[in-house]
Amino acid sequence: MHSLLIRLITALAVILISQLPLLAAELRLPQGKPILSISGAIKVANSGNEAIFDRDMLEALGTAKIVTKTPWFDGVTEFSGVRLDKLMDLVGAHGQTVTAVALNNYVTTIPIDDFSRYQAILALKRDGSYMSIREKGPLFIIYPFDTDPALRTQTYFGRAAWQVAKLVVE
């Protein structure tokens, strides 16, 4: 009887610990210059309805690399940045699409499934250097174009928006 009680408590503790990130949906405010805001159908925000990120916050999520050819740069380019599906998880996105809005007001709508299917990233660096605005930075949505011919179409080239500043989940 006693041991059963202990087992139950232990199980509950495990469940609680595993749910901790969700429960602690508290997103700290950016310390540096904010470079991205996520809005729309999200559960986690740090500035009203938006979740605002600076470079450090994004990099804190862990970075991924995509090495691929692109229509915009010569030869093979190495991009590194945040996995977009992880980012969506972080903000508790619960929509079908994500509309990316760029600094130059370019808008593109991406099905949210793309992120996990192609493991697309929100690139911060190109060939190891942070991208300035003049170099289509600071954020560039990158698909691994070399891995799938289907990606090497206008649809995905269009979805690969540069100078991204906002993501709206719908």
Binding site: L103, N104, S132, I133, E135, R152, Q154
Partner: protein, 786 residues
């Protein structure tokens, strides 16, 4: 079109369809890829984006220039950065792999003006950037605005050109699409055409298949009909085969039975079902009897030489049990043979009977002439032995009388008895045969000598001379025997028979009841006879026959009353042959009619030269009378010559009347009615039956010379003459005495009252020529008494 070719066309059409479909897919996918890989129409958009960004920069700069503007220096910086970033995309020198053929760069390159605009834009932006770096937030906004303002028009123009370029591209793509459409349409048409062709071909093939099916069905029907007709033909064939009376079989080259009928199955004694296709050796084995070989085995043994020799042949197999089979064997072209077997047992037996009947005498059961001749023929083929003997010919003496007096039944009985005696007498010494009538022959055993034969003949004569007990009385006959042998190789059975016959007649001539062996004498006589015959045949044509005339005289007055025509044959023109020697030969040779007619004609013609009161007498042979047309002959000769019928006298002998038939008497009466006179010649010899005198009313009786010769010396002879003369006188007939040679005889005849005389006393027969040399008067004068 033949089905094979059709199949090829079908396959070709299908291949073409596949290729067309493949090509279409390739073209479409290539086009799709080309359209999807690159943004072809984004030039205008990108340029307009750049223009928007350019205007945004201007707007921000303008807003920054305002004293209470909310715009910060960072905003200006951002817009400028964005502009720079855009400028990179216009960079014509950069060439990325994925961006190959990208419309924007092509657009920039397509026109120098565009490159200049980009160049000026870059220069302007760098100028502003320099201002910002140098002066910071307090840079010369107005200057910057002015720098940008000079580009406004260029940027708008660039947009227009981008739009035009996009439209051009779109047009080109549309053209490409149209081309593709055309290709597709062509392909579709091709497909449709091929489809139609395919359907047509399939339809055509179906038709062909249907046709073939119909043809097949027709063929099948025909085949079935042929089969039916074959079956019915087979049945007919079977029926025909089985209705044959013969057994039939056909074997192939290996000796296997191919065809046979029920009769054959019966012959071998095996059921037809078992027999079918059986090997002949097996057939023989299966048909084999307990001890004796089977019928088929015996037959096939004899047939084997024909089978092996592949020859055609017929033969008859005689079986041990008396049965017989006629076999007809014939090879057939495929190497086998066909044979029929007919049970000819009955025919064989009847043949044997017929053979026996044909070769044996029905009355006595002895071999007949045919068989004896055959046996003799065989004997003649053997070498002759020295002093040998082959045949004895026996003729009963006086059998005719037995037959005539006692009847044929008794005669037959006697012949049977003779046969029995001959058989027992001859026993193993030879073969007895009956040649016909009362003539028997004995073919002696081989190696029989002349002495043996004589001994045998004597014993036969002794046996025959024993009395025969017939119908309650004893009859005694004798036999005459002739013996002959074949000499050398030239002797034929007919000659041997003839020799024996001649010898036998010699026995008869020598007094009957004796044995004569054929000798050279007899042969010579035979030869003489032959040559006589030959000469006689020639005599007529060689004019060797002559008619001589002997006068007839009145007994009392010696006056010539007429002449008798006498035939003379001067053989080979040399010697006269007496009529008794050649007349029988002429009769035998059938020349008598011709000769008789010739004599008659000559005599009648000759008589015309004489005084009209003189008669002419002509001898007529019995054969002439019996031939039946003598009356017509006489009539025609009389009318030919013109001789008065009453001057003609025909002399016949008794033998004419011997076989006196109605027709003979009729002929004589006819002649007499013509006025011709009929005389009975040589009366007193032969049978001399007085009844003949009553049978026919003769005009004259001629008394035979044998009576006249002895008239003065033998009393009985004169009595006979006297009686004949008296009888004739009473019957109103004239009498003529023949052969009067002296006065003594004449005187006796004068006393007896004989009417006429004839003989050397008065005249010898002389030729017509000699007769005519004397005047008729002289003839008469000479006939006057001296």
């Amino acid at each position: 079109m033949p089905p094979k070719a059709l199949e090829r066309v079908l396959a070709a059409v299908v291949c073409f369809l596949m290729l067309a479909a493949g090509y279409t897919a390739v073209v479409i996918s290539q086009r799709q890829a080309a359209l999807q890989t690159i943004s072809r129409y984004n030039a205008a958009w990108t340029v307009s984006q750049a223009v928007a960004e350019f205007l945004d920069l201007e707007r921000i700069l303008a807003s920054y220039a305002l004293p209470q503007g909310a715009t910060t220096f960072d905003d200006v910086q951002l817009r400028l950065d964005i502009m720079f970033s855009r400028l990179d995309t216009f960079q014509p020198n950069e060439e990325t792999e994925l961006g190959k053929g990208r419309s924007l760069r092509q657009f920039i390159r397509s026109d120098v003006r565009n490159e200049k605009v980009v160049e000026r834009l870059r220069a302007s932006l760098e100028t502003i950037d320099g201002l910002l770096i140098t002066n910071g937030p307090s840079f010369d906004v107005g200057g910057a605005l002015q720098t940008l303002g000079s580009l406004n028009a260029d940027m708008t123009a660039l947009t227009s050109r981008a739009a035009a370029y996009g439209a051009e591209l779109s047009e080109a793509d549309q053209r490409e699409l149209a081309r593709l459409h055309l290709i597709l349409s062509g392909l579709m048409s091709g497909l449709i055409f091929c489809g139609i062709l395919l359907i047509t071909l399939i339809w055509w093939q179906n038709k062909l298949v249907h046709k073939a099916h119909v043809k097949l069905q027709t063929t099948a029907t025909k085949l079935e009909e042929a089969h039916r007709s074959l079956v019915s033909q087979n049945q007919r064939f079977d029926a025909a085969l089985n209705s044959m009376s013969q057994a039939l079989c056909t074997c192939n080259v290996d000796g296997q039975l191919i065809v046979f009928n029920d009769q054959f199955a019966k012959l071998v004694g095996i059921a037809p079902a078992t027999l079918a296709g059986m090997d002949l050796k097996k057939v023989i084995a299966a048909a084999a009897g307990q001890n004796t070989p089977s019928v088929i085995e015996i037959i096939l043994q004899q047939q084997s030489s024909l089978i092996q020799g592949r020859r055609k042949g017929r033969f008859t197999v005689d079986l041990p049990d008396g049965g017989a089979y006629a076999v007809s064997h014939e090879p057939i072209p495929d190497g086998g043979w066909l044979a029929t077997y007919e049970d000819v047992s009955e025919r064989r037996q009847s043949e044997a009977r017929i053979f026996h009947m044909a070769h044996h005498d029905a009355l006595t059961g002895l071999p007949n002439r045919v068989l004896m001749r055959k046996k003799l023929l065989d004997r003649c083929a053997e070498p002759a032995i020295e002093d040998g003997c082959d045949i004895l010919l026996l003729d009963l003496d006086g059998f005719k009388e037995v037959n005539d007096t006692l009847g044929h039944d008794i005669g037959d009985q006697m012949l049977r008895e003779v046969a029995a005696r001959l058989r027992s007498c001859v026993a193993h010494e030879g073969t007895v045969g009956r040649l016909g009538g009362d003539e028997f022959a004995i073919l002696t055993r081989r190696g029989c000598t002349s002495d043996d034969a004589s001994e045998l003949a004597e014993s036969i004569l002794a046996a025959i001379s024993e009395p025969f007990h017939l119908d309650g009385r004893n009859v005694v006959v004798t036999a005459s025997i002739g013996i002959a042998a074949h000499i050398g190789t030239s002797c034929t059975p007919d000659e041997v028979f003839k020799h024996a016959d001649l010898a036998m007649y010699q026995s008869k001539a020598d007094g009957k009841g004796r044995v004569t062996r054929f000798s050279q004498d007899i042969a010579e006589r035979l030869l003489a006879q032959k040559s006589l015959e030959a000469d006689l045949r020639e005599a007529m044509s060689l004019n060797h026959l002559e008619v001589h005339y002997q006068s007839l005289h009145d007994t009392q007055t010696r006056q010539v009353k007429g002449f008798e025509a006498l035939l003379r044959w001067k053989r080979r023109g040399l010697d006269f042959v007496p009529p008794p020697d050649f007349i029988p030969v002429a009769e035998k040779l059938g020349l008598i009619d011709e000769i008789g007619e010739w004599v008659l004609r000559h005599a009648c013609q000759e008589a015309l030269n004489w005084p009209s009161q003189l008669t002419v007498a002509v001898n007529i042979s019995p054969m002439q009378v019996h031939s039946g047309n003598i009356a017509n002959r006489v009539l025609s000769i009389l009318s030919e010559t013109g001789l008065a019928p009453h001057r003609l006298e025909l002399e016949i002998t008794e033998s004419v009347l011997l076989e006196a038939a109605e027709s003979t008497l009729l002929t004589l009466h006819q002649l007499r009615q013509l006025g011709v006179r009929i005389a009975l010649d040589d009366f007193g010899t032969g049978y001399s039956s007085l009844s003949y005198l009553t049978t026919f009313p003769f005009d004259k009786i001629k008394i035979d010379r044998s009576f006249v010769r002895n008239i003065s010396t033998r009393a009985n002879a004169s009595s006979v003459i006297e009686m004949i003369v008296q009888l004739s006188t009473e019957l109103g007939m004239i009498t003529t005495a023949e052969g009067v040679e002296n006065e003594e005889q004449l005187r006796c005849l004068q006393i007896m009252g004989c009417s006429q005389v004839q003989g050397y006393l008065f005249a010898r027969p002389q030729s017509a020529h000699a007769l005519l040399l004397q005047a008729p008067n002289a003839v008469v004068a000479r006939s006057q008494p001296v």
